[in-house]
């Protein structure tokens, strides 16, 4: 799992690339927390994610809960259909603001 970060319209956009599973989740969690440290609103660009396991869902929710405590807003953008279906069926999607595109996400958060 590769993570990259850029700023768009005052919003931090973090792109997740690859598979988020028990093997990659601990590293991804560390990276996410580091990249999100500045308290800016965040869009997670998931367009290049290939897979999300149970561990991945949990990391995402943990990060979300932590940012909630700080008052930081998070949106998910460009969630691939299969991952979206999994998140929907398990109810994890209900916790998040979900947008079709990164641009939509930036707009919602600003």
């Amino acid at each position: 799992m590769e993570l990259s970060r850029h700023t768009q319209g005052g919003v931090t956009v973090i792109a997740l690339d690859g598979s988020l599973d028990s093997g990659t989740a601990p590293g991804a969690q560390e990276d996410l927390e580091r990249l999100m440290a500045d308290g800016q609103a965040i869009v997670l660009d998931m367009s290049r994610m290939s897979y999300m396991s149970s561990a991945g869902l949990r990391i995402l929710l943990l990060v979300h809960r932590r940012t909630e405590e700080d008052g930081t807003k998070v949106a998910l953008a460009s969630v691939p259909a299969e991952i979206r279906a999994v998140m929907e069926a398990t109810g994890f999607l209900d916790f998040f603001e979900v947008c079709d595109t990164v641009d939509d996400g930036v707009e919602v958060l600003t």
Binding site: D21, S22, G23, S53, S54, A55, L57, R58, L61, A85, V86, E88, A89, T90, G91, F92, F95
Partner: protein, 732 residues
Amino acid sequence: MTGGPQTRLLDERIDSYATHQISGFPVRPGRPLPFGAARVQGGVNFSVYSTHATGVTLVLFQRGEGQPMAELPFPPSFRIGGVYAMTVFGLDPEAIEYAYRIDGPFDPAAGHRFDPHKVLLDPYARLMYGRESWGTASRYPDSAPYRAGIAYDDFDWEGDRPLCLPSRDLIIYEAHVRGFTRHPSSGVRHPGTYAGLVEKIPYLRDLGINCIELMPVFEFDELDNPRRDSVHGQHLYNYWGYNTLAFFAPKAGYAATGLHGMQVDEFKNMVKQLHRAGIEVVLDVVFNHSAEGDERGPTLSFRGLDNCTYYMLTPDGRYYNFSGTGNTLNCNHPVVRGFILDCLRYWAAEFHIDGFRFDLAAILGRSPDGTVLPNPPVIEQLAHDPVLRDCKLIAEAWDAVGLYQVGHFPDYRRWSEWNGRYREGVRRFLKSDMGITGELAMRMSGSADLYRTRGPAASVNFITSHDGFTLRDLVSYNEKHNDANGEGNLDGDYSNYSWNCGVEGPADDPVVRALRDRQVRNAFLILLTSWGIPMLVAGDEVGRSQLGNNNAYCHDGELSWLDWNLVRENSDLFRFVRCAIAFRLAHPALRQIKHHDAEDLPERWFPAVSWHGTMAWEPDWASHNRLVAAMFYAFDGTSHDCVYVAANSYWEELDVELPRLPADAAWRQFADTSAMPPLDVHEPGREPMLTGQSHASVAPRSALALVAGHVRSSNTFHPEERELWPSMPRCG
């Protein structure tokens, strides 16, 4: 003292390091409890019971691989008593599957059937691999068809707790997870799954039920049925799932996310969403037998782990078959008792399950040699368990060899029962049998002959269940038509007490069709006005048919799925049932907790239940009579609640004299099953006044329900005012 460093210190365990290397894996002696596989710091703890084994081996697989990646024999020092426990470090719980190989004597006469060549499923498996996708052949070799997985036990419940609805208020809806939404007409995004069921919650709310009873959801193999449909030649299924493989594992094939191993999360989300809608979740659990069958069946789990502990065996080591499926679980063996208790506690605590319905529960009352016990330990233990205290416990109080305990199941003031006598009594009345009015009266008033000391809520009243005809078929077929089940129509119950209304099967004759419509309404009206807990079967509220098949356990298709087009086609019937449910919930007189009057207050108008005939206060129990009229009454100190129900199974119209009400009260008509929709039923609280207050006519084979309302009140009650209704003046 507080602070981060100390918290951090406590996060570290001083035993999280290996003491041995086995087959290349760092391990240490594990903790014997809890049984199963549990995440521990740095690894996974495995614990399994076998008291007669001579050797136990942990078999590890990479997720999805056919052959094991490693086999780790438990050293003798890793055994405590009859429990083998080992912590294995460095495992990724998400990436592995596990099983056991058990060595020991193969001596059937002594009850032992160990076979070290078999790879066995952990009975405590929280996830099962091998049946992830419904109906698809397993990718695993026969040598290791099913494996266990390690589930996450964390979940964000967002404050959800079991609902703890009072039993007397329950309206149970029996459903099959797959059949409920698998039909293409369901329109859900995830057909046939837990997630699909969530999408239909608005429908359940609209109908008004407050408890869904799910047919078996523990892992089973739907492909273990060897039979073929002799009519169409198709492979038959074990669709219902009364053949449990893994009692702690929700069925992955019912999960939209089963291929990803996320069935636990998906199941928990379903429970959370149902609870949000005010709907309890009861599970149909099958502890009377397992999927291993008799001597000829496969060795998958219990048989190879410790045959004579888990199964009831004859003195020469063969299987007792009280379940009709080949074997019988040894439910009153202390180890098996512990297993059942662990399992139900897990579902109650971990999945927030509100109650359990026990399949062939009479078997829970048998000792290891089959003797019927007066004080069965497992039944008593479940009744008094602290974790299960608020769970509904419902017994199917019979077994497959004639032990019939309806009315005398050992209840410990906790258990309720599927009331089989209610089913038979109402069916016989509906088909106009003679001499059945007294029986119907007893059943409608909570079966005091069976449950006087326990109260009406001990009686789960039902006319149909998954097992037998659907309600539509009950009024459309005299005989069962099970030819498609592959057994020459020899399977299924012969005692259906059904009547086809003159034509066997589908009918074009509008008279026959109208009569069937009325009979279905009669059944619902009797069910939903009777004391006790009503249970209806998913689809009956919209006239679902199984074409006369009364044992559709083996069909995964149109025959067994709910066709949602029926909701539109039979919207009148749906409306009738919806109103009858709302009517029940609006009237405490129909939901008594005791059979006798609570208090003998002088203000009371009437007894809690009274019987009438063509003349008020003069019931006629003669064998040729086919009219039953009941008046149910409740008084809470301020409000009077009074409902009158007349059911006529005679083929002529009858005029009935109505009980006289106090001056300020008047009879209003809730339902008349002989009236054409929409006049067959009225929204509760908006019932029109009856024109004649002293008499009413009850049409042939029909039922009438009246409610005592205020004489001057208009018909403008709103549904949201239901709780206030009926608010009646005090008498005198």
